[in-house]
């Protein structure tokens, strides 16, 4: 059973209390210290009182600010180390993360990877660290808020003599008319917007108490931010997809469950004019073009009904938009960002059929590299048949032509050329800088006569319901810090001792401001100004006087 401590003034304080909640009498006091430590009003931290079950022990551990600061510093050190080498998401796309760190950074890189610093923010130990920090924030706040709230609620007007004397600001006035002076003091304090209470001729003035709740408000904000971070891992809360779309193509927007489709009409890449008067010098120094605009002109469609996967949906136009950096396209909680591009990818190749004997052309065909046709008619008995097509051509192990992928990185073709004089056709193999006649000498040949390229836009599709939670948390945090930092909790006690008036004053910060209030108070009431005993101490020490 915990023992309440009953103070002389009759107030019952919980075990562990340092200063009586009501009158402020020091219950457990270091007599040698001339100024009282007013942290948490000398109230009892709830966890200090009893230690029994394992739950209480865990609680006590995380209630300590020492533990809290340690966790903050551990997080600080961890993320600082995490910036020494790049995170795995920022290493070059073609690098193998398994070997990249060792190859690039040697033994340090190897350790970095082994300890999980390469994906720090998704490593289990970092998540645990943040979780423990969250626990510490919650536990320490509850543990301090409850008793502090109690102590501030139970304050009495009349304070114990020792409490008064041991404040940093303390002064005594020998008064001829104490009632009158106290009355004037009350008036002056009210003018300075203090809430003034009176009891047995003593005064207690207080303002800005709400600033004491600032830390708890901002800690609630932080907890909400952490919850927001965690919710990102909840299915459906966070969508992050990439969409590469060629000019002229339409595709379903990933992450939207085939509800939305996008057509990319054109990708625009603009640079600053190198002759621009304003920027001439900088552009010369940069040694190349500086980008001015990345933009994709797109049309967004919504699919009607709920088409089955793969089915051609009926599309209804939603809007046209120019998606630029800093100006994402927003629709239905989604954001579509212009995030990357590739310029001038091969799209179509044109070939001319030429009679080698007289260099006479017999028409031209255009082959769509993404969707070639089998037959191309040139008229007058000439036609071309595409026998085979290798978008990403190489010779495989057997020495046959093959394709590495379906991207037209290195297109190659086998054409059969039919002409009036060769009705059975001649075969021509064409690749970049290659023109072979694998089945003997031909009279005709295909000659590359033109290229059509097109750009590709890289989009990022996001839907993030956690943003609003994180944002709300951040706002609450800011309100909390502003509340705690931009306002001060000031208190002034005036106590009658016969014809003497004792005055003590306390603030949680900005003593200078409090002193200005006191200056006004003493000026109005004729009370003598209290002494700053901290300054006095240094002043005396430096002059070799006794403290």
């Amino acid at each position: 059973m915990s023992q309440d401590i009953v103070c002389d003034c009759g107030h019952k304080n919980p075990e562990g209390t340092i200063l009586c909640e009501a009158c402020g009498k020091p219950l457990k006091d270091d007599e040698t210290k001339p100024i009282l430590n007013m942290r948490y009003e000398g109230s009892a931290r709830r966890s200090q009182t009893y230690k029994k079950t394992p739950i209480d022990k865990i609680w006590n551990f995380f209630s300590s600010v020492k533990v809290g600061i340690t966790l903050i510093i551990l997080v600080l050190i961890a993320v600082a180390i995490g910036t020494i080498f790049p995170q795995d998401v920022y290493i070059p796309a073609n690098a193998d993360p398994e070997t990249f760190y060792k190859d690039q950074y040697g033994i340090l890189g190897e350790w970095y990877k082994a300890l999980g610093f390469d994906h720090l923010y998704n490593s289990w130990w970092f998540v645990i660290l943040l979780g423990l920090l969250g626990l510490s924030i919650i536990v320490a706040s509850i543990d301090r808020f409850v008793p502090l709230h109690r102590a501030l609620k139970n304050q009495k007007v009349t304070r114990h003599d020792r409490f008064m004397k041991k404040q940093r600001l303390f002064g005594v006035t020998l008064s001829n008319s104490p009632e009158k002076q106290l009355e004037m003091a009350a008036k002056a304090l009210k003018e300075k917007r203090y809430r003034v209470k009176e009891e047995d001729g003593n005064l207690f003035a207080e303002k800005g108490r709400f600033s004491r709740w600032g830390p708890y408000v901002n800690h609630i904000g932080l907890i909400i931010v952490l919850i927001g971070g965690m919710l990102r891992f909840f299915p459906g809360m966070y969508t992050n997809e990439v969409l590469w779309l060629h000019e002229g193509e339409t595709a379903s927007v990933p992450g939207t469950h085939d509800q939305y489709y996008l057509t990319n009409h054109q990708f625009i890449f603009q640079t600053y004019d190198p002759d621009d008067k304003k920027y001439k010098e900088a552009l010369k120094d940069a040694g190349g073009a500086i980008a001015k605009n990345y933009q994709s002109n797109v049309t967004l469609y919504k699919a009607e009904g709920h088409p089955i996967l793969g089915e051609e949906p009926k599309l209804k136009k939603v809007k046209n938009a120019g998606v630029r950096v800093n100006h994402p396209l927003k629709f239905d909680h989604y954001q579509l960002f212009q995030s990357d591009y590739r310029l001038g990818e091969l799209y179509k190749m044109n070939f001319k059929l030429i009679d080698k004997r007289n260099n006479q052309p017999h028409g031209e065909i255009s082959v769509n590299l993404f969707n070639p046709k089998r037959l191309y008619h040139l008229g007058k008995g000439f036609r071309i048949k595409l026998l085979d097509y290798f978008p990403d051509f190489y010779f495989n192990k057997k020495g046959e032509p093959a394709s590495k992928s379906d991207n037209p990185n290195n297109p190659a073709f086998i054409f059969k050329m039919y002409s009036p004089d060769h009705p059975k056709g001649e075969t021509n193999f064409i690749a970049i800088k290659k023109n072979l006649e694998p089945l003997g000498k031909n009279d005709y040949k295909m000659v590359l006569s033109g290229l059509k390229t097109r750009n590709v836009s890289g989009f990022v599709v996001k839907r993030d319901f956690t943003i609003w939670i994180v944002f709300a948390g951040a706002i609450i945090f800011l309100i909390g810090v502003a509340q705690g930092m931009y306002w001060n909790h000031r208190r002034i006690w005036l106590k009658r001792k016969g014809d003497d008036i004792w005055m003590s004053a306390l603030t949680n910060k900005n003593w200078y401001g409090l002193k200005k209030d006191l200056h006004y108070l003493t000026g109005e009431s004729g009370l003598s100004e209290p002494v700053d005993r901290l300054e006095e101490k240094i002043y005396r020490q430096e002059r070799g006087m006794k403290a």
Binding site: I58, W124, V127, G134, F233, L309, E311, F370, N396, D406
Partner: protein
């Protein structure tokens, strides 16, 4: 409730909640790779074959389906194609369906491939890769064995080694 007991309950609840939150987050981090796995319902789709006919997966309800994802440029895919073709020839088509999904290639490429390898089993074309994405296909070939109720019984990533292997797997899902 006695205040001290109440306090203990509150403390226990807060600590357990935090522990659960940390555990959940770590679990999600290690399981974030989305897949279509054994036991899942096979996502339904409609795709067109080389002749322009629409094929719908759910139309095969009551039959077992072997669903193969492949591309013409993929060497391991080429390797298993003859096995599949041979199995297809002797298949009980009333009970089992073989369907291959080509990933994102042109009609020309698919038709050419079918001619070259003499393929008769139905191939549908996933032009926009929507189906491929829905099945979270990583390396190809990937083959799903789907039972008569439309549930995935097995997923094989990589080239299947022999005809016998395919027959064995098919016999396991045959209704």
């Amino acid at each position: 409730m006695h205040p001290r007991k109440k306090r203990l309950v509150i403390r226990t609840v807060i600590i357990l909640l935090l522990a659960a939150a940390i555990g959940f987050t770590i679990y999600q981090i290690f399981n974030k790779d989305k897949t279509v796995a054994t036991g899942d319902k096979a996502p339904d789709f409609v795709l067109t074959d080389v002749n322009g006919h629409q094929v719908k997966l759910s139309d095969f309800k009551g039959k077992a389906v072997m669903l193969n994802f492949w591309a013409t440029w993929c060497d391991p895919c080429k390797k298993e194609m003859p096995y599949i073709e041979n199995v297809y020839k002797t298949l009980n088509k009333k009970k089992i369906v073989i369907l291959a999904v080509n990933i994102g290639e042109s009609q020309f490429a698919v038709q050419n491939f079918m001619d070259k390898y003499h393929i008769d089993f139905p191939i549908v074309m996933d032009k926009n890769r929507d189906v491929t994405d829905a099945y979270h296909i990583g390396p190809i070939p990937t083959t799903f064995f789907i039972n008569k109720d439309g549930e995935i019984e097995e997923k094989v990533v990589g080239s299947m080694p022999s005809e016998k292997y395919i027959r064995q797997k098919l016999s396991e899902i045959e209704p």
